[in-house]
Amino acid sequence: MPTLSINGISVEVAPGTSIIQACEQLGIEVPRFCYHERLSVPANCRMCLVEQKGAPKPVASCAMPCADKMEIFTDSELVHKARKGVMEFLLINHPLDCPICDQGGECDLQDQALGYGFDRGRYIENKRAVSEKYLGPLIKTFMTRCIQCTRCVRFADEIAGAPEIGLLGRNEMVEIGTYVESAITSELSGNLVDVCPVGALTSKPYAFAARPWELKKTDSIDVFDAVGCNIRIDARGSEVMRVLPRTNEDVNEEWIADKSRHAIDGLLRQRLDQPYVRKDGKLVPASWPEALAAIAAKLKGLDGSKIAAIAGDLADAEALIALKDLMTALGSTNLECRQDGGKFDPHARAGYLFNSTIAGIDQADAFLIVGSNPRWEAPIINARIRKRFLTLRENFQAAVIGANLDLTYPYEYLGAGPETLTKLASGRHAFAKVLQNAKAPMLILGSGAVARPDGLAIQALVAKLAAKVGLVRDGWNGFNFLHRAAGRVGALELGFVPGEGGRDLDAILDGAGKGEIEAVYLLGADEIDMSKLGKAFVIYQGHHGDRGAHRADVILPGAAYTEKNATYVNTEGRAQMARLASFPPGEAREDWKILRALAEALGKILPYDTLSQVRRRLAEAASVFRNIDSVTAAEPGPFAAASTGTVDNAPFAMPIENYYMTDPISRTSPTMAKCTEDFGIVEPRTGTHG
């Protein structure tokens, strides 16, 4: 362990630590542009120069490893002179357009120029101009502002796994670009804007929209997949202007996916801002009392077995518990949260959680992905697997059963369907040995793999494989279920699944078609086949006029995730809280309050009046809600109920047809529509456009 002194303070660091990292340990700030702690170190901006005693010239602290007895000075005259020189060179070709630059106010170059810039320029020649580049529908370029730090090149290369950006040309002609005009084919491209230390790459949808100091910043949780990325919502007035990632090493590090970042313009469109009641076949605006009365008129006296509730992908735990309590009060056990038709066992907790945890990926050394496209279902988890590949390189072992797609890391393609899985589970496949011999094997079961009639049998087969290769070991649980919906795990934890004698999704739809189910409550459920609801009375509670609202007989306008204080549980079983960043539009209300009011209208008073009382109820209902922000781990196993069903050998279908449009918010987002178009993804028919 080298011990060195920095500004006279002695510090002991791990071998291989760079000087800049040692400085950070001591809380000493070193300016930098090219250095980024999650990317490789090129040492080309020279801004982080420090003085090392005995060295002939200042050293780049990002690239110089600490050695024993080093004496470093970060605040000496030499250091200041060196950094001022570097800054002057950086500013030679950088335009003085801060007033019209979107980075203004949150720009590394602006901030550091304040500390190290000269008060006038000595360079009298013309500044160079660089032509704009096209980097896709999400990134706006202003390449003249580029200082060639190459962070974007390294991000695309290393984190995103889309090596499409390069540093072209040389000397004064050097330019960042893709050379061939093309959008960056990555679901993480929005992060390029964050890593760019200047205003060369800025957000296209957010261009010229707001200044950082006008925005109200709210720490929240993302709901566009089941990863539970930590985000910061920047709102001005009632409008969400942008979403940025928040660092959480255990979940998303400091990245978020493009849908999480850019689907927010969907929050302004097709919103349900007042209740509607269907009269004579037409939805007409109504007041809250009218809407609640219309529901009460229908539900009063109706037997509980004739009522069903289906929860959607974005449902928060507070609303789910309120709806469950209401349904219980009405005597119904027909609850279903798996609106994708998932057939897994909802009672085996270890069987539906991402048990290894996301941070656990950093320890895993063999991966088996079954029936999932993690790149679309959870881009952040996919990036974490890629990170593991970059660490292990030739020792990285991965295999896929399902679709053969580019996942940004190499893998062995084993097969398309359960046949291969059966072979593995019986140990007749070579990759079973690989999992067995690995130190920390990980199996990732996609939610799409069990969203088919033989789902239970598939899950049982995977559980058999888990036992065969020993996925559970000392301190390690390698069985992982990868969900796609932010609301799913919360609903499972709360038991929002068919109770005793209750119907599951197929049975509810079947019953509705036959008239056995007379009322269906859709809590933001838009992905089911609405035509199967038959003549049932449909109540839709949600925030977007999507498929569910079109079919509804009564619409209750709810709040989107940015408009409520709500709890979500991610695929690991980590409960996290989203916070209100702006108020719901018009007459729309927070979802649990709507259900509380409805229950009262039905004469079934729910025992909570405030958010904290609802949360107390949540904590009672499931342990995961007592443990906010950390993972509530499942007992390892059993992973599935014993199944006698037979496995159908049909290949696993990928559940996501279009990454950019998976839920009511992203389906209405113009930016996501543009992405769909630009990336040439065929848009599935939604019925909400036009």
């Binding site: 032509s131 290369d157 090596p163 040389r170 330019e175």
Partner: protein
């Protein structure tokens, strides 16, 4: 020259496809074999050069793609290399690619006059190609033959000790397809002094080695 090195050339002269000839493929394999396993990407520069020679002294985009694909490296990495080095021509050049050195030593002994002579003889400016596609003229930075300045490189060969007169004669000979002399145009051997050998003369005479 393109307005920007960061954007691919898309002129009509860009071919639609590229593949090494059988002979060049053999050469390429020999080049790749020089590098250890897993380091095949190191062959990108010689392979780009080979592709440039096959394409008539310039490197179409499809050729860069072909080389990158052959070495299983991201295409952008090949573009980076090809745009970085000035010896890869990203646009077609004439049959005779005249690169006149104008760095200080050459300039001190009259490279400006050489450039003028070239312009006049060929009827083109710097960076231009004659209409018949025979000659392209550019100025370059030091080619490392300062001792025989002023000099120019035409395709793979150096032509040294240039004067406006012998430059014109040289270009004319090339245009006529006549054989030309490479190296010094004044008959100087190697880089010996212009006034003939000067050192150790007296000693050599005294020792009877030299007459």
């Amino acid at each position: 020259m393109s307005a920007s090195v960061g954007i691919a050339e898309t002129g009509p002269e860009q071919p639609k496809e590229f593949a090494f000839t059988a002979a060049n493929l053999k050469k390429a394999k020999a080049i790749i074999a020089k590098y250890p396993d897993g380091r095949q990407q190191s062959a990108v520069m010689p392979l780009l050069d080979l592709a440039q020679r096959q394409s008539g002294n310039w490197l179409p985009r499809v050729a860069m793609d072909y080389v990158a694909d052959m070495l299983a490296m991201p295409r952008i990495k090949a573009y980076e290399v090809a745009t970085f080095y000035s010896m890869y021509n990203l646009k077609p050049v004439g049959k005779h690619f005249v690169q006149v050195c104008t760095t200080t030593p050459c300039w001190l002994v009259g490279s400006a006059g050489i450039i003028d002579a070239c312009k006049k003889q060929l009827g083109i400016g710097l960076g231009e190609t004659t209409p018949d596609g025979e000659f392209t003229l550019i100025e370059v930075e030091c080619l490392g033959a300062c001792v025989n300045a002023p000099m120019a490189q035409i395709n793979d060969d150096y032509y040294e000790d240039l004067t406006p007169e012998n430059t014109v004669a040289l270009l004319q000979a090339l245009a006529d397809g006549k054989p030309v002399k490479t190296g010094s145009q004044t008959g100087r051997r190697g880089s010996q002094a212009k006034s003939g050998p000067t050192s150790l003369h007296a000693q050599a005479k005294a020792a009877g080695v030299e007459g």
